[in-house]
């Protein structure tokens, strides 16, 4: 068996994944601060942060980018 280095449990690794034409996925985040400085707690293992600016649940994605014309999407 090959030994795989493990992160200590308290290590804080946050990973951001940009989805083409869609949100930014955040893994390992604890909270997101929006444009107005309000703090939003992360309550699930992966969250989707809005990138089109049109979500009704800012800072979270609510799928609204799919209703926009391609030119308005974040690419």
């Amino acid at each position: 068996m090959t030994a795989v280095a493990r992160e200590p449990l308290d290590a804080h690794v946050v990973e951001a994944t940009l989805c083409a034409g869609g949100p930014m996925l955040l893994r390992g985040a604890t909270h997101v601060i929006d444009d107005d400085g309000n703090r939003h707690e992360v309550e699930r293992p992966v969250v989707a942060v809005c990138r089109c600016g049109m979500s009704t649940r800012i800072p979270w994605c609510d799928g609204t980018h799919k209703l926009l014309r391609p030119s308005e999407e974040t690419r």
């Binding site: 989805c19 309550e43 989707a48 609510d62």
Partner: protein, 340 residues
């Protein structure tokens, strides 16, 4: 839950057998019928639903030993063959179009879910549905939502480790992120209770038509066969990619017709959860699966298309009835005593 009522000669024969002892001597069950529209046949769909249920939570009046009985599995196989053939026939043109197109598979699947033809149940619920139509919609959805995520969980051990990790990450959220009160099945039970409907697992199986049972049976078909694992994941992708925006509309319709935030909460939760899950399912799971095994692409698209086609049949059925001031399944009176 008890075994459902039979809906025709097939379910009558199969259920009679299931209610007896497995050891009892009996003439062997035979299925020699063929159905012109297996998707819309209540006798076939309720039989399949009950045979699948042996693998989930089963029935208090049925011996657990029936689960792996070759005689019942042989019946199930024959029904599944007809159901699967009907599903493949129904969506063949969509599968050919998507598989024949070029570009990133996740983008093609998003395009498929955005453009699939069918009436919008969500738009009707948001703007026009009466309170009783909203309750009827919730009643039909109970058949699947009370076992939400379970059919896709069957697929986990059949996948390579990388895809498995992505699927379990998504399913962990479906099962409440380690918090029993947040399990989506439990959230749906609260929605039902708040809308004056029975929240018990399987409570409305006897009341709904084949079209509603078929939605749930397609997932069990895909989930229980390793051969169809790619279809199960494509199905999951389509469920997730057609959830966020509709759930926002369902929640708005639920509040518009006077129900409380408690009733809408299940749908509120799915707006944000499924905006995450659709990316995980289509990009992290379906596209990655096919990258490693390109011959699975057609089945991913088949599973996604089957989900969309069955949803379209369901929406058409409900909207047609509602258009004629009728119900497909009239919900029980709101003030009726709802058993705990």
């Amino acid at each position: 839950m008890k075994l459902p009522r039979h809906r025709g000669p097939l379910s009558s024969a199969v259920f009679k057998r299931m209610l007896g002892s497995r050891d009892a001597e009996s003439a062997p069950l035979r299925v020699d019928a063929s159905w012109p529209d297996p998707i819309d046949d209540a006798d076939l769909q309720v039989t399949l639903w009950a045979l699948y249920e042996l693998h989930y939570r089963s029935f208090e009046d049925v011996d657990e030993a029936w689960e792996w009985c070759p005689e019942l599995l042989a019946v199930r196989e024959q029904l599944e063959a007809q159901f699967e053939r009907a599903l493949r026939d129904e969506v063949r043109s969509h599968v050919d179009t998507v598989v024949g197109a070029t570009g990133d598979l996740a983008d093609r699947l998003f395009a498929l879910t955005d453009s699939f033809e069918g009436p919008s149940l969500a738009e009707h619920i948001e703007r026009h549905a009466t309170r009783e139509q909203v309750r009827e919609f919730l009643l039909h959805k109970s058949i699947y939502q009370l076992k939400e995520a379970d059919p896709h969980t069957w697929v986990v051990p059949r996948l390579e480790p990388d895809i498995k990790a992505h699927l379990v990450e998504l399913q962990f959220d479906e099962y409440g992120d380690g918090q029993p009160a947040r399990v989506h099945q439990t959230l749906y039970a609260h929605t039902l209770a708040g809308a004056g409907l029975e929240a018990t697992y399987g409570a409305y199986v006897d009341a709904v038509p084949a079209t509603t049972l078929a939605l749930s049976n397609a997932m069990s078909l895909f989930g229980l066969h390793r051969r169809l694992r790619a279809a199960a994941l494509g199905h999951l992708g389509a469920v997730e990619a057609t959830s966020s925006i509709p759930c926002r509309r369902y929640a708005a319709g639920i509040r518009r017709t006077g129900f409380s935030d408690d009733v809408a909460f299940f749908f509120d939760e799915h707006v944000e959860a499924d905006a995450v899950h659709e990316q995980l399912a289509l990009r992290g799971i379906c596209a990655e699966l096919v990258k490693a095994a390109p011959d699975l692409e057609a089945d991913v698209v088949f599973g996604a298309s089957a989900c969309l086609a069955l949803d379209a049949r369901f929406a058409t059925r409900l909207l047609n009835a509602w258009h004629n001031q009728d119900h497909v399944t009239p919900p029980p009176p709101y003030d009726a005593q709802v058993p705990a």
